[in-house]
């Protein structure tokens, strides 16, 4: 690999990068709009008057947008050139990785995993803003009985869009920024296994966001994010926008899954055996693998729905021989593992930072692995607890109750590892660690309320009520999102080169936490009292609970905006950060800030795990003196494809 070119690179050859020099998000936007316009014009002229006309036109137009955008940003340049026998030169690889491009590289099809990490961070935050805004509208509409802010149809659409935007945002919120930026550093790699797939995965996510938002202008979605058939069949063309979004997003998730898994398996530096690999890597890989298994189900469910809507098949139409239960099974086969796709990376990030802030080894590394593996395995066996009252298979309810209740055991193990790490530690009460405490509080509540729902008779009372909504907000928002904020606060100095202003970030964080308790504890109460979920209006006896929940939501909004303001201001004006402000031992803290393009000058050789606090020679287990690897001889510039990508490591991967 060309380490030498970083420090004393000659000026890059002119026109390196070729057409990629001219392609960026703006050309993508233009190409997407042009192709969408052409698609719309042709399909509208030929198909509009058929029975399924408007659905066919909508789907074709949106797919044209996706293809156009990706073409316009240069996603297909690489494969086309490879087919034509041309391949990346070293200068082109460096150009693609964003060398010497300044801020512009964040708006391009850039392959540097650190750039992609930052891109995911920004897009993730934007998604949370939009999703949060929709949540404020939901709560404002529910402030008093009698749907006041807007009509019921708009309410249903707002609820559905809020749900899917938050699901997408929480899926990417840890794996995207930190799985990409931090994980390769943590394993001592110079990049990821499939850098172009990685960039494609990111830009695919970006391209489906306008598709989803277009649903608002196409009549909205009446179904909530779970898009149950056959209500989804009855829906206006906004539903087509929804299902195209899901299909595109599922591809994005699969690409990330393949990329991160291969990276972790094949690109760990020498000496980094699995028992020395940081727990965060396990969490990200576990989540990626789970996503690879689960998301094709979601994608299939939406493809069938799309066929039902555009061509008149009857996958989910009972009158045509189909079954609504087919949809529910496909959806929940994704839907349950998906919450662990969301939760595992956040939990793993928390498990990663807790030893650093307690100055103790992780209490039972093996226990954490077993816990995560147990969660992953069981999560594939519990899906029909969402269908206890669907009537699909009442005789199986007991079995699903068993597997669901068993999941509490490995989850409890992970909580044990956290409190065991905290036990007798030197607990450094900085914001990342304090956020871990908030997560413990929230997740215990979320987990226990999940136990109620796992009981079949109790679920007969609770299913479809606001109790369920409060439960999953406690686990996904109070648990996973809080863990993600802890991770962000922890890795912010490495990713941005600045220290996050902790005073203001804490004010925002705790304000949001207080509002969160108010909103969702009162939501538990009105759910227990019998109010269904996804209702835009309610009987007067639920008025007080709803009003309290709404005021809590406004407090959440203020808190989150304060945190975001602190984040953005610190990013621009914050105190420059040292390379390792927390005294962490993992490899990302051993590289300078800002991180050089190829990450490590010399790839480290690992001799022990990263949790050696309080043990002999407590210090970063990077290259001890006397065992430093000799400098690599310069590589020739022209190399076959395999060696060009960061996947090839002459230093070898660990076993």
């Amino acid at each position: 690999m060309a380490e030498m070119t970083i420090a004393d690179a000659p000026a890059p050859a002119p026109a390196a990068g070729g057409i990629m020099r001219r392609l960026n998000v703006v050309t993508g936007l233009l190409a997407g709009l042009v192709l969408a316009g052409i698609g719309w014009a042709i399909s509208h002229a030929t198909l509009q008057n058929g029975t399924y006309g408007s659905d066919q036109v909508t789907c074709i137009t949106l797919v044209c947008w996706l293809v156009g955008f990706l073409a316009g940003i240069g996603a297909f340049v690489g494969p086309v050139r490879w087919l034509a026998g041309k391949d990346l030169t070293e200068d082109e690889r460096l150009f693609l990785a964003g060398k010497d491009q300044g801020v512009g590289r964040y708006f391009r099809f850039t392959t540097d995993h650190k750039v992609v990490g930052i891109q995911y961070l920004v897009v993730g935050m934007a998604l949370f803003f939009v999703g949060g805004m929709l949540a404020m509208m939901i709560r404002t509409d529910l402030l008093t009985p009698g749907s006041k802010l807007f009509g019921l149809q708009t309410y249903n659409s707002v609820v559905g869009l809020h749900g899917i935007i938050m699901i997408i945002a929480t899926i990417v919120m840890v794996t995207g920024p930190f799985g990409n930026f931090i994980m390769p550093l943590m394993i001592g790699a110079r990049g990821e296994a499939f850098p172009r797939l990685n960039a494609l995965s990111f830009w695919l996510l970006v391209s489906v966001v306008p598709v989803l938002l277009s649903a608002a202008f196409l009549g909205g979605i009446p179904t909530g994010w779970s898009a149950y058939a056959p209500l989804a069949d009855q829906a206006p063309p906004g539903q087509d926008a929804f299902l195209i979004t899901i299909i595109g997003f599922a591809v994005s998730v699969a690409l990330t899954g393949a990329n991160l898994t291969t990276t972790a398996v094949t690109m760990r530096t020498r000496g980094l055996t699995w028992s020395r690999t940081p727990i965060f890597v396990f969490g990200v890989v576990g989540s990626a693998v789970l996503g690879l298994v689960a998301f094709p189900m979601f994608m299939s469910s939406q493809i069938f729905q799309g066929l039902d809507r555009t061509v008149g098949t009857s996958f989910y139409n009972a009158a045509g021989g189909g079954s609504v239960w087919l949809y529910q099974n496909l959806f929940w086969l994704m839907g349950h593992p998906e919450v662990y796709v969301i939760l595992l990376p956040a939990f793993a990030a928390v498990l990663e930072l807790t030893p650093v802030f307690c100055r103790k080894p992780l209490f039972s590394f093996r226990g954490a692995i077993v816990g995560m593996a147990g969660i992953m395995g069981l999560s594939l066996l519990v899906w029909a607890h969402h269908m206890y009252v669907s009537g699909w298979a009442p005789d199986l309810n007991g079995s699903f109750m068993l597997t669901t209740e068993m999941i509490s055991v490995p989850t409890g193990l992970l909580i044990l590892v956290i409190i065991g790490t905290v036990w007798r530690g030197r607990v450094w009460t900085r914001l990342p660690m304090l956020a871990v405490y908030a997560m413990l509080w929230n997740f215990v509540i979320g987990g226990i309320t999940g136990v109620y729902l796992s009981d079949v008779p109790v679920d007969e009372a609770m299913h479809g009520s606001l109790f369920v909504t409060a439960h999953f907000h406690y686990t996904l928002m109070g648990g996973a999102l809080t863990g993600a904020i802890a991770a962000l606060t922890y890795w912010f100095p490495k990713m941005t080169g600045r220290m996050l202003n902790e005073k203001w970030a804490s004010i925002g964080f705790w304000t949001a936490q207080v509002g969160f308790q108010v909103t969702f504890l009162s939501m538990f109460a009105i759910g227990l009292a019998g109010l269904p979920r996804r209702v835009g209006d309610y009987p007067p006896q639920f008025a007080t609970g709803n009003a309290v929940a709404t005021y809590g939501a406004y407090v959440i909004m203020i808190g989150m905006l304060i945190y975001a303001g602190a984040l953005i201001t610190s990013w621009i004006y914050g105190v420059p950060a040292p390379a390792s402000p927390w005294g962490g031992k993992t490899l990302e803290w051993q590289v300078p800030t800002p991180v050089p393009l190829d990450n490590f000058e010399v790839l480290p050789v690992i001799t022990s795990d990263f949790y050696g606090y309080g043990e002999n020679g407590a210090g970063p287990p990077a290259v001890p003196p006397g065992r430093r690897e000799p400098a690599e001889p310069p590589e020739p510039v022209e190399e076959p494809v395999g060696a060009q990508s960061a996947a090839s490591q002459p230093e070898g991967s660990a076993q």
């Binding site: 807007f150 829906a235 139409n317 909004m557 304060i562 975001a564 303001g565």
Partner: protein, 225 residues
């Protein structure tokens, strides 16, 4: 100082965006106007002498005559009730509703709604004839009213509205001769009720999409009190 300014501007800007978006959404999505029943005279019923209220509405094969303006709104070809879909009637009164039904019809797939339910005497008048139900193969729309939440006075009315023959000629106003359906019911205490058509006159799956699933066409509210 910078932090304070940054945080404050984030809060203000963020809240402003949220508020503006909410306001924009709200302004574009207001409910249709109310039609208040006119009260004239009294009716002697087994429960006493009650005021008599009258409501006159119609169902159309398009959206050009109702609350969507003369252009018909975004979906001029959608069937609709008119002149509006939100009604107001007095409590403890006899309400007589006259519906002029201009649309064609077909076979209703839940024959329950081809019967008359909940009206005074259990009957309705179709073009002058008293009936307790109509032919389930020639239903145009229904007017089906029910309570909207469980702790309020119960009310359930469903009256089928026969469809006009497809070969009937149009008059100068663009519509054929309507069927005129009249029915009466007694209102209980104050409350809000919802009504919608139960004939699949919409688009999409089971004919319940399109106008059947969009507020302001084939569904609405009835406020008693």
């Amino acid at each position: 100082m910078r932090m304070w300014a940054g945080v404050a501007s984030a809060v203000v800007a963020g809240a402003a965006v949220v508020a503006l978006s909410g306001a924009l959404l709200s302004v574009t999505d207001q409910p249709p106007g109310q039609l208040r029943a006119s009260v004239r005279g009294y009716v002697l019923t087994p429960s006493g002498r009650l005021p008599h209220a009258f409501l006159s509405i119609a169902t159309y094969p398009d959206s050009l005559a109702g609350e969507h303006g003369h252009g018909g709104g975004p979906h001029p070809d959608w069937v609709s009730y008119g002149p509006t879909t939100n009604f107001e009637v007095p409590a403890h009164a006899v309400v007589t509703v006259t519906v002029r039904q201009y649309d064609t019809g077909g076979t209703i797939y839940n024959p329950y709604f081809a019967q008359v339910h909940g009206t005074l005497g259990g009957t309705a008048t179709v073009d002058g004839k008293t009936v307790t139900g109509i032919n389930p193969n020639t239903v145009g729309h229904t007017f089906t009213l029910h309570m909207f939440q469980a702790n309020q006075p119960a009310e359930f009315i469903s009256v089928p509205l026969p469809g006009v023959s497809a070969s009937a000629p149009n008059h100068a106003n663009g519509y054929p001769t309507p069927h005129v359906v009249t029915f009466s019911f007694v209102t209980a205490g104050p409350g809000r009720y919802v009504w919608n058509c139960e004939f699949p006159c919409g688009t999409g799956y089971e004919g319940f999409g399109g106008p059947m699933s969009t507020e302001g066409y084939m569904d609405g509210t009835l406020t008693v009190g």
